[in-house]
């Protein structure tokens, strides 16, 4: 009897996962169709860039500066033991551009803008605003979902760039300003080790992928939220959790596919 219940439970769970994946696939197709086909919602897109990008500037820049300063401090103290403090620019630059910049920016943006996006759409579900749009023959996918998801995809590379730049500034300040490293050595180490196609290209590619994941998961979770207060809360929490995990797992695969060391 217990074995039968276990099999039934497993079956239900498997069906539930398949159903969720199917809904996600249909949602992705609908999102791509709404994004690629007219009408294009330029004004709403710009509003969402402001909401999700501009309003995330402070948190991203301050975090980038702090991470860069910590990297500068830790890197200098470690490298100086081996007499290799001249490599600080290289270490900090590669760490920020290849990994920390895109990943930490994605986690920060998901925590601020992704959760807000999911909560806003979920509360629109709860208050029947999406049904109101449907009853006016207006597709919510077109007017609500697409501008929000596209804006997240668009702002992620820009915010990642800012994070990296502020991180480098923080490391420069600690390494050169506080530890007395020669600024020329810091900058030349940075310039000589960073390859545009591999490092900067990979950084942008990762940021785009993470933006796509964040935009899609946040809007999907909000769109399919249960129309209750608990549903809004669940959509918000699951957006942060699922996207964070997806970013971290996706980071490995993107790194591998882009040609870095596996």
């Amino acid at each position: 009897m217990k074995a039968a219940e276990l099999v039934r439970d497993l079956g239900w769970r498997a069906l539930s996962i398949v159903g969720e994946l199917g809904r996600m696939l249909l949602f992705t197709v609908a999102f791509l169709r709404a994004s690629l086909m007219p009408p294009f919602r330029g004004r709403r897109f710009v509003e969402e860039i402001y909401n999700q990008g501009f309003l995330s500037l402070v948190i991203v820049c301050v975090s980038g500066l702090a991470v860069g300063m910590v990297l500068g401090l830790q890197g200098y103290n470690t490298l100086v033991r081996f007499g290799a403090e001249s490599s600080l620019g290289t270490v900090v630059g590669l760490s920020l551009i290849r990994e920390l910049g895109p990943v930490l920016t994605a986690l920060l943006v998901v925590g601020r803008a992704g959760s807000a996006t999911a909560a806003e759409i979920a509360s629109m579900v709860t208050s029947e605003q999406l049904d109101g749009l449907r009853m006016m023959s207006i597709d919510p996918m077109d007017i609500v979902v697409a501008p929000k998801a596209l804006a997240l995809i668009f702002v992620m590379p820009i915010l990642t760039t800012l994070f990296v730049l502020f991180g480098l500034a923080g490391a420069f300040f600690v390494g050169v300003g506080l530890m007395g490293l020669d600024p020329g050595i810091f900058v030349s180490g940075l310039k000589s080790s960073i390859r545009f196609s591999d490092d900067i290209g990979g950084c942008f590619f990762k940021a785009l992928i993470f933006g796509f994941l964040a935009g899609l998961i946040a809007t999907f979770r909000g769109y399919h939220a249960a129309p209750t207060a608990a549903g809004v809360s669940s959509a918000t929490t699951s957006t942060v959790v699922v996207t964070s995990v997806a970013v971290l797992i996706g980071d490995y695969f993107v790194t591998a596919l882009w040609g870095f060391r596996i």
Binding site: S127, E128, Q129, M136, S137, I138
Partner: protein
């Protein structure tokens, strides 16, 4: 009286079955709503009154049966066909369903900008005419959150009738409103129906008000439905129907003092 066909039916439900999970809402619902009349949908909580409106708008699909708006079938219609059918329907949601992030003006302008080529001046004058029709002025620049419950409901009503629908669906239009706001919405619905000939379907728990307003009533009971004129339903000898109206629904609660309402 039971399942009696209404003349010149504008909306028809034909053997509709609907449920959520294991809970059956309608097992075999067949009913009609007359064109150009006000119909009130009655029933206890969970009887499926709001579900009926959502089925009619194509927001959800039944498990079985067919639903018609005029000659158009809602059930099984493609998204494009549903959008065409919905252009004939205006819906007043319980909470208004106006977009929080847009001003009242932009909320009302949205369907016009989406579906018409009207010039901005024409859009503005159409919006002001509708707002005036529902007794709202100087609210253009306000957000929905800045309006009172009654004003919000009237603004949502203005949006629902903006595109001159043939059918107006009202989900609990009086809930949470003070008596004067209830009266105001009631008069507006009567006026809209009278002047524009719109078929109006009202879901409400405010029985006294809606019975005054309605020409036709549909009472949803467990496993069946009963329809007829409101006064006929009130006088019905059917035990379940009588029970429904006996549960103080037929008493005009606005006319009672709090003490009187608790007297045996």
């Amino acid at each position: 009286m039971e399942a009696s066909p209404a003349h010149d039916a504008h909306v028809r439900f034909d053997h509709v079955r609907m449920g959520f999970g294991e809970r059956a809402v309608f097992q075999d619902l067949t009913c009609e709503f007359p064109r150009g009349r006000i119909t009130i949908l009655l029933g206890g909580s969970g009887s499926g009154k709001s579900t009926l409106l959502r089925l009619l708008g194509g927001l959800i699909q039944p498990e079985a049966g067919r639903i018609y708006v005029g000659d158009d079938e809602v059930t099984g219609a493609s998204e494009a066909a549903l959008y065409r059918i919905r252009s004939k329907i205006g819906m007043l949601f319980q909470g208004g369903a106006l977009l929080d992030s847009l001003t009242i003006f932009d909320n009302l302008a949205l369907p016009l900008r989406e579906h018409t080529d009207l010039a901005p001046d024409a859009v503005a004058s159409a919006i002001h005419a509708q707002l005036e029709a529902v007794g709202l002025t100087n609210v253009d620049h306000l957000l929905p959150g800045q309006l009172s419950g009654g004003m919000l409901r009237r603004a949502a009503l203005a949006r629902a009738i903006l595109r001159e629908p043939e059918i107006l669906l009202c989900d609990e239009p009086f809930s949470g409103l003070d008596p004067s706001s209830v009266k105001r919405i009631e008069l507006l619905l009567a006026k809209i129906n009278h002047e524009r000939g719109i078929t109006v379907l009202v879901v409400s728990h405010h029985i006294a008000s809606t019975l005054r307003l309605a020409d036709h009533a549909l009472l949803l009971l467990p496993g069946r439905s009963v329809e007829g004129k409101p006064a006929e339903l009130q006088r019905s000898e059917d035990a379940e129907v009588a029970d429904f109206f006996d549960e103080d629904h037929s008493v005009d609660d606005a006319s009672l003092t709090p003490t009187e309402s608790f007297l045996p």
